[in-house]
Symmetry: C2
Subunit: 328 residues, 2 copies
């Protein structure tokens, strides 16, 4: 089988007949019919081997995560996923690798009903760029620039699991008990196969004034919301939601840094008026929505302890050119 | 200036207020309002340093070509360009490099009125993936699968210039006369800064039954049209249009291979009924539209000499995993 036939074989099942797809893979460009009365959301994210995932990552997990990080961007806008394009650069068309990659990618794509409609395959160091397209009724997107004074700042799910999973990858001295092993599996699942909060994003459209997905860490990502909205924030460090595995395995001194700056959470951070909180919680249940702070007039991000003292900003923000995902 | 500010500074001018752009760079995803009654065309192409362009290529030319190859895909569908996303992976944010890259990219983008609306910047080996979006009135896209028995097969412009430019890069024994230098500049311009035939594609929408852009070489690309349309083709080797520089500089024995399999032409190949040829030519003038053969019932691609003998298919087709651009 020639190389192109091999690649087509693994990706064809990801390109089913789907709504709005007039012509999918196989021409110079896909032909797509956007839903009437809707706006489109488009986002591109690149994962580079050895930088965004360890070289030893399973191909299934690479395929999953490459799509998940894009779907998370759509979730943050409140969008319904429609279509995606895959630009895959790989050293050689290894069949076992392709099978695993397409399986992970396809499993997540089918879960959310998003169809592969085009892309490109080139040879080079392993790198994956996915462009995801979603839609919202015109004017109803969640944006970064709508946070209002007095809004409650909330996050879905729990924070810090992926960062702790990554930290413990390099750890030598953890106890080899069954509970620890179980926790590690859970933490690594958060790192390798993040769950994009698409349904929550859709449901929060009627409640939130602003939203962002947490890919680079809460402090940095919320900072983008504050800058775009022209506001500040006061956050309660002890309010950050933790998983049971995180509660058991994280060192006390590392917790805030892992949760606030670790990244790779792919939860949503939303700002909403206090009187909408209860209804928003009901809407996205059983996914938890936790209040972690308040939008304030004074610019900047301040962290507070339970005893009312302000925490120093060390470890709550970092800026690596390589690890940040951001529009150019 | 931090790295992100640097990058934003160079790309912000590529993201002007543009039709349909509700929200451009700076949120989790761009918000876009598709034109009413139109279908969208989307295409992603990746250029990898050292594979799709030499490492010594000027950053201006890299920026130009990365967008041009995507615009050429839109041209082949008869689309009007609207928006693009840029996923840029580079070793470090070198300011001089970024300035040149953004200049080449921006010059071509402004020429065709296409706005940068989002993307991603990551660190790694130099690689550029652009996703381009265009539109056509619903149902009027040019496709690969519409070629009809008796259609004349035509190409825009001239073929083989880029491939000859690449071949002469490695040549030691060319004569250093002024004419040769002038020709080399012209051939390298075709290789480094190809002209996407967007206007011709738009104008040919009313005439052509099928179209494709010539990125991998005429033989392979026309083969996709034949396969999709379920037809064959007879081509006249001596009918392939050549530039003056090509006519002067190409070795006689290399000409057909350069023109039929060299690639990087970024001309359009269209199939149209004979009675539409004159009007199509008038429509796209002064860009030449040259008849090179005929669609026939017998499957496959046959090449003929002026004396009526059939040419052997050697050198008229190649398949490198690395050099082909194709949907996965």
């Amino acid at each position: 089988m020639d190389e192109f036939a091999l690649i087509r074989r693994y990706f064809a099942p990801l390109s089913p007949a789907a709504e709005g797809v007039v012509l999918g893979i196989g021409d110079d460009a896909a032909i797509l019919a956007p839903p009437l009365g809707h706006e489109l959301l488009m986002s591109s994210d690149t994962l580079v081997a050895g930088r965004h995932f360890p070289l030893t990552t399973a191909p299934y997990d690479i395929g999953w995560k490459a799509l998940a990080v894009n779907l998370s961007d759509l979730a943050a806008m409140g969008a319904e996923p429609l279509w995606f394009l895959l630009a895959l650069t790989l050293p050689q068309p290894d069949e076992a690798w392709l099978a695993g990659f397409a399986d992970g990618l396809g499993t997540l794509a089918r879960t959310h009903g998003i169809a592969l409609v085009g892309g490109d395959t080139t040879r080079g160091n392993l790198s994956i760029t996915i462009t995801a397209v979603g839609s919202v009724p015109a004017g109803s997107s969640l944006r970064r620039d709508g946070a209002k004074l007095g809004d409650q700042i909330c996050v879905t799910g729990t924070l810090g699991d992926a960062a702790l999973g990554l930290q413990l990858n390099g750890s030598e001295n953890r106890s080899p008990c069954a509970q620890s092993e179980h926790d590690l599996v859970a933490l690594h699942a958060r790192l390798d196969r993040p769950t994009p909060r698409l349904e929550a994003g859709l449901l929060l459209r009627g409640f939130a004034n602003a939203a962002i997905d947490l890919s680079d860490g809460l402090a940095g990502d919320l900072g983008h919301v504050l800058a775009a909205s022209g506001v500040g924030a006061d956050l309660q460090a002890d309010a950050l939601p933790v998983s049971e595995a995180f509660a058991r395995q994280a060192e006390a001194g590392d917790r805030l840094a892992l949760q606030a700056a670790g990244g790779d959470d792919y939860e949503l951070c939303v700002c909403l008026p206090p009187d909408r909180l209860a209804a928003a919680r009901t809407a996205i249940a059983p996914l938890p929505l936790t209040v972690i702070g308040t939008i304030s007039a004074e610019p900047g991000l301040r962290w507070w302890a339970t005893d009312g003292t302000q925490l120093k900003p060390e470890l709550l923000s970092y800026q690596h050119f390589d690890d940040r995902r951001q529009a150019p």
